[in-house]
Symmetry: C2
Subunit: 495 residues, 2 copies
């Protein structure tokens, strides 16, 4: 067996372990009784240690170097080798003690945050978050040297391989300049029009679930290869051939659950469409978080909040809940799913204001990792940024800089992928439409196949063969550009 | 770290991997969509290889030998070391190629069996089963030499540690002599009495499930540490702190589902009651299959088919299904749960005829492993044995020697544990009653705590500290003796 083949075998085993971890995670969030938590964390910790041992196996350095000498590898194998090297570098450069320390400080910080947030007690959180940031900065510096990039970009690479803040800065600055004025105009237009009529519930969970399954099936989700369940925080888990999405039903608001299911189905279809030939290899995995988010937002935002889809789904929703009349007409439903507001909470934000939340966090975390912003200064910087970007100021830290879990766990570098995903979705949707006019018309009949087959070919089937930029350029003719997203927002919100 | 401590750490990790395997198995049987099967078998195969590698790690021989020199180990540690040695010996003595060959031939045989059984085609099965037997005999000879026992006893030890066929022979011969005449008398008495009145359904699955949960709770099953789900073949899976039982509901027969749940709950309570201090060590596991089966049969047969429990459950069942009248009176329900018949199928057998099915299989498999019975002779020997033990002859092989999966997979040595379990249950129940008269009376009030607390102390909490014989002697004053089981049968069926 050659060096490259040995790597494939090694990473094949590693991927299977990671898949087992994924399934056990899904179970913990959906099925596990509370008393099983300790045993589960023991199982998961053991499997994670084994995976980590495999990824830091001393023989890998040599095998990777030897494989680079192999001139007979095809493009997929070369890309696979590159991914292996990237994963290996992320695992080996940081001393185990530092990783362990960050993990423990992150858990401690998260625990304090869960108690301190409801109490609006930033002071209590501060030392814990400071410790997490300090350790994260240490990691970032070490990884930055290994990856030959800035510390922040090294963190970003964990979620968005090849991502570069210099490019994100330009794209986000463009958007940040556009958004405040645009938002103002949208809110003015909205205020001048009649408000949406209330959709009165309650909405039986069984009916919501039936409607969700009906729509998932329309989207091409095959229940022979996946499930829909319930969890506190909706997510897409499982493995490509057994992809499991979850939702949380609210009996007084069916739209949130429905849109959540559509969002997760976008993630699920990406996983299902990954190249089967490379199922257990790094190159067979999804490209990165921004593309993953682009697939969920493509379905939820681009497709399923379009007038076409809403006109299709309105009668189905009325039928599902036994409702009719003006509130259940497509135009009223459309008003609901395109409603914009200056909310303070990211996870409740609409697609116009969401980028403002993300750009704020991106700028703040970049400054924190660079050492230009101290934890103590965070609440002030947050309030300032919110005012500038969104025109609103949080009344407290609970609904301000303490609202998200990401930083508590040391996940600096993740936030930008949300808005990169939204922008990527706009650009991909535009190209899919241009290549086939039935992409948009199909949605009016509940026919997603033109859209999803284009996406399957240009995104899903590529796995990690190309960089995100290359993939986007091949699919749309150019790398990520804010103009598509801006055009989409104008089209929908200021027609 | 001393040698023994290193072993504890090694087996601790191994156990957590095995727990992960257990959870993934449960998921495959209850939640997994069909399309996920291939990915799941990849995940399981990988984890099994890792577990096997750990169990055959060359360093273990040395660590085990060194630990035997350690005079400071307490009784639990000594027992733990003994179990480690036993597990290690089972894994290392047989060459990996032979294990692999048997596993592949077993899968092939099982696959052929699934198709050949409905066709009643023993001829088609014969060469596959022959191959499995031959490889199993090779394994048995090698293990017999390592364990210094007969080849059959070495197979038995896989399921019933320390089990010895010379003792089983004596106990089963005793029972085999008793059963035919007893069965005759029971059937005569039954025929002379009015037949049970039919319990007319349909029985809604939700109502069956509610009743099952109510009874499980009465038994002491804590849903904070476990679940009840549905699978084709009921089983008890999961891990001690997250024990998951399954059942299969039949809308025209609620008694089978209910008794199945009670049976699995007996298994579950054993797992839950294992010593928490030794959670991830071999000595913390259940002692063996006969004791495990004793706990399920103790609940299902000894406790829940007693007149006392039936008088308690009859009104609950009537309430659950909205039924009343003569068929729903305790005496009629009791007739149902103590009905005896000369059936040909083991899994449908009652507690009087079940041992006949098992003794037959035990004798046949012992002869096959010894080389005294050829596969070609199996159908004839089966018919002969059934006639002698049960007084009935199967009309074909489908419902004769092809009815069970065990041999197809190479699981020779498993069958006797069913009836050893039934006899152990009778002996334990007798001792529990003798120590506390409220054990039986409590059942009439749905109060299982006297019974289960005795069982928890004398069986569950012992883990694998003692041998099965030692445990039974400590708990009941003597090793396994058929007289308790015979007395129980007489008491219940020929009062």
């Amino acid at each position: 067996m050659g060096a490259y083949e040995e790597l494939e075998s090694h990473f094949g085993r590693l991927t299977r372990i990671e898949e087992a971890i994924g399934m056990l995670h899904w179970d913990a969030a959906t099925m596990m009784p509370a008393g099983g938590a300790e045993a589960r964390s023991e199982q998961l910790a053991t499997l994670r240690v084994i995976a980590h041992e495999m990824l830091t196996d001393p023989k890998l350095a040599e095998l990777i170097a030897a494989s680079h000498e192999n001139s007979e590898l095809d493009a997929w194998q070369v890309a696979n080798l590159k991914e292996m090297g990237r994963l290996w570098l992320h695992s080996t450069t940081v001393p185990a003690e530092l990783v362990d320390k960050l993990s423990r400080k992150g858990s401690a910080c998260e625990m304090v945050w869960r108690a301190a947030r409801p109490d609006n007690d930033f002071k209590r959180l501060q030392p814990y978050l400071k410790a997490v940031l300090e350790l994260t900065r240490e990691v970032a510096v070490i990884k930055g040297e290994a990856f030959k990039c800035s510390p922040y970009d090294a963190l970003l690479d964990q979620y968005e391989p090849g991502g570069a803040s210099v490019r994100i800065d330009a794209i986000f600055d463009d958007l940040a300049e556009f958004l405040p004025g645009f938002l103002e105009a949208v809110l003015e237009r909205q205020a001048a029009r009649p408000p949406a009529l209330a959709l009165d519930g309650p909405f039986a969970i069984e009916a919501q679930r039936s409607l969700a399954i009906r729509l998932m099936t329309k989207l091409g989700f095959d229940f022979n290869y996946g499930r829909l369940d319930v969890s506190v925080h909706p997510f897409c888990g499982g493995v490509p051939d057994d992809v499991r999405i979850t939702t949380a039903y609210n009996t007084s608001d069916f739209l949130r659950g429905m849109m959540g299911v559509l969002h997760e189905t976008g993630h699920a279809l990406y996983e299902r469409g990954l190249p089967a030939k490379w199922r257990y290899q790094p190159v067979g995995r999804a490209r990165g978080m921004s593309l993953h988010e682009s697939q969920s937002l493509l379905v939820e935002m681009q497709a399923c909040r379009s007038e076409q889809f809403v006109s299709y789904v309105a009668p189905l929703a009325g039928e599902a809940f036994g409702k009719s009349g003006a509130p259940w007409q497509a135009d009223n439903l459309y008003r609901h799913v395109t409603r914009v507001s200056r909310g303070l909470i990211r996870v409740h934000a609409d697609e116009v204001t969401y980028p403002a939340h993300v750009i704020l966090r991106y700028r703040l975390e970049k400054a924190m990792v660079a050492g230009d912003l101290q934890i103590a200064e965070l609440p002030g910087a947050w309030a300032e940024g919110m005012a500038a970007l969104l025109g609103a100021t949080p009344p407290d830290d609970r609904d301000g800089c303490m609202q998200d879990i990401h930083w508590m766990d040391g996940a600096f570098g993740y936030f930008p992928t949300y808005t990169l995903g939204a922008m990527t979705a706009a650009q991909l949707f535009q190209s899919a439409q241009a290549s086939d006019p039935d992409v948009l018309d199909g949605l009016g009949r509940g026919d997603f196949s033109p859209l999803m087959s284009w996406m399957g070919e240009h995104v899903h089937a590529k796995g990690s063969l190309l960089s995100t930029d290359e993939l986007l350029t091949e699919a749309t003719g150019q790398p990520l550009d804010a103009s598509f997203f801006k055009a989409h927002l104008k089209n929908r919100y200021l027609p």
